[in-house]
């Protein structure tokens, strides 16, 4: 997207030279520029995705770098994701207890917590947390490599930078997001149960039995594995923003910010589509 649209979404003041003049013709130019920028951005993203796909399926494969990225994306995000999941579990527990009590439906608490955490909050919170941590990290790292010609040096050494840098990071995000979501869900359920048990006696066994009563795999697996799509979005946007950076330190900062903002935005929009898709395909 043109930088004006992005900075508007991200809430960042544009650089001074981008300040628009105030006139009808400049307004028309701005709108035309926005539209052109919108299509240019998506077109470039499509070309980038195609280059990454081709690089992913043709040897030689970068296994060592992929394993390193699995650690970077997965292991190092785990503490933050677990903490976020735990906090969400407590919040839902407190809110659900209050709401259900008002309607005389306290017995529904375990199922409410389980379904809310696993189907809704666990995936989206994990996605947003990882988008912030990993998206910014990848965007800044690749942007820094771009402005210091390190990516050019990789290409000049007859190594495909799309394969070495982008494909590995995107694959790592796709593979790790569902696992991190499971971790977030587990922490959320545990802390949610604990918050409830502090107020009313409820054994963990009772909580699990009641919460998962009548549940099928269709209720929980699709919402968990949809996060693989989140991983694709986070990795793709971050790598794309990083590898097309220009403009020195300012460009690196912009790439990091755009990676997080656009990654989070597209993740939420994708969730709307995915939720509907899951409800239709897995009724």
């Amino acid at each position: 997207m043109s930088s004006s649209l992005v900075t508007a979404v991200a809430g960042i003041d544009p650089p001074l030279q981008e300040q628009p003049e105030l006139s009808v013709s400049s307004a028309v130019k701005s709108i035309t520029g926005l539209v052109n920028g919108f299509f240019e951005w998506f077109g470039s993203l499509g070309i980038f995705l195609w280059q990454v796909l081709r690089a992913t399926v043709t040897p030689p494969y970068e296994w060592r770098e992929l394993i390193r990225q699995l650690d970077e994306v997965g292991s190092k995000s785990l503490p933050l994701v677990a903490l976020a999941g735990s906090a969400v579990g407590v919040i839902i527990s407190l809110e659900a207890r209050y709401s259900l009590s008002r309607f005389g439906a306290k017995s529904m608490f375990p199922a409410t917590l389980v379904y809310t955490v696993i189907q809704v909050m666990g995936p989206i919170i994990t996605g947003l947390v990882v988008s912030g941590r990993v998206g910014a990290g990848i965007g800044a790292e690749l942007a820094s490599m771009k402005v210091t010609e390190q990516i050019d040096a990789i290409e000049a050494s007859a190594i495909n930078p799309y394969r070495l840098l982008s494909a590995t990071r995107i694959l790592a995000c796709i593979l790790m997001l569902p696992l991190l979501t499971i971790a977030a869900d587990a922490c959320g359920l545990l802390t949610g149960w604990f918050a409830q048990a502090m107020v009313e006696p409820l054994s963990f066994h009772q909580f699990i039995a009641s919460g998962f009563k009548g549940a099928t795999f269709n209720a929980f697996l699709p919402p968990t594995f949809k996060t693989a799509v989140y991983g694709l979005i986070i990795g793709l946007i971050a790598c794309f923003q990083g590898m097309r950076t220009h403009g020195g330190a300012e460009g690196v900062g912009r790439a990091a910010t755009n990676s997080v903002v656009l990654g989070s935005l597209f993740l939420i929009l994708a969730d709307v589509v995915l939720v509907k898709f899951i409800l239709v395909v897995f009724p």
């Binding site: 043709t58 490599m145 210091t148 040096a153 000049a156 007859a158 495909n160």
Partner: protein
Amino acid sequence: MKQGKVKKDGSAPFVAVENLRKSFGSHTVLNGISLSVGRGETLAVLGRSGTGKSVLLRLIIGLEKPDSGSICIHGRNIAGLALDQMGEIRKKMGFLFQHAALYDSLTVAENVAFPLVHHRAEMSRSERTNRVRELLAEVGMEGDLDKMPSDISGGMQKRVGLARALALEPEILLLDEPTAGLDPISSGEIDDLILKLQRERRMASIVVTHDLHSARTIANRLALLDQGNVVIKGKYEDLDQSKIEFVKEFLKLS
């Protein structure tokens, strides 16, 4: 396929550029230049800042695509080749970037080993380690294997960049401003290093520089660019005897 012109000794040039044009938007950087370099030769490309010298090297290594013209490497025109077709060509070339472009998350030794890890998979770890030590010893950096790029000076980074560029035994060496930003003593050391490597390896080299003294030291031939055109090319004596105003001005002020 367009072939490079055959030289007087009957050999084809390793690198032959013909009628090369490149523009960025409305700004024409290269306006139909033609150059060639053979085995064991060093061509210095001189000119003012912003005259397209670095762009020429980026076109030869394939980091940019020309608007028109040909770039022949061993007689093969690479001007229209895609990224995955350039691999075998690039393995024959070594490129030293202006600021060395070392991978800042890797040590000095890991930087030099990088091309070997990816392209010499048949080498054992110990063979690779020995090869890295040899390369760093050639450039006088054998005592700094475990240092990070941020821990060494600009001149030392260039030496490591040069060692990395030589890792795959290239036939063609491209050097972008090898002495830029260095003090006179360090510049002299880099020049001596390039001369030594050239004597030993007999690569076809193209050095982009605005340092006339360095160019005279290391190059067999020089080419002077101005506004996207080759104003003059030949030995230093040809430039010195030229009546062209720009050439006289450039030599006087260098």
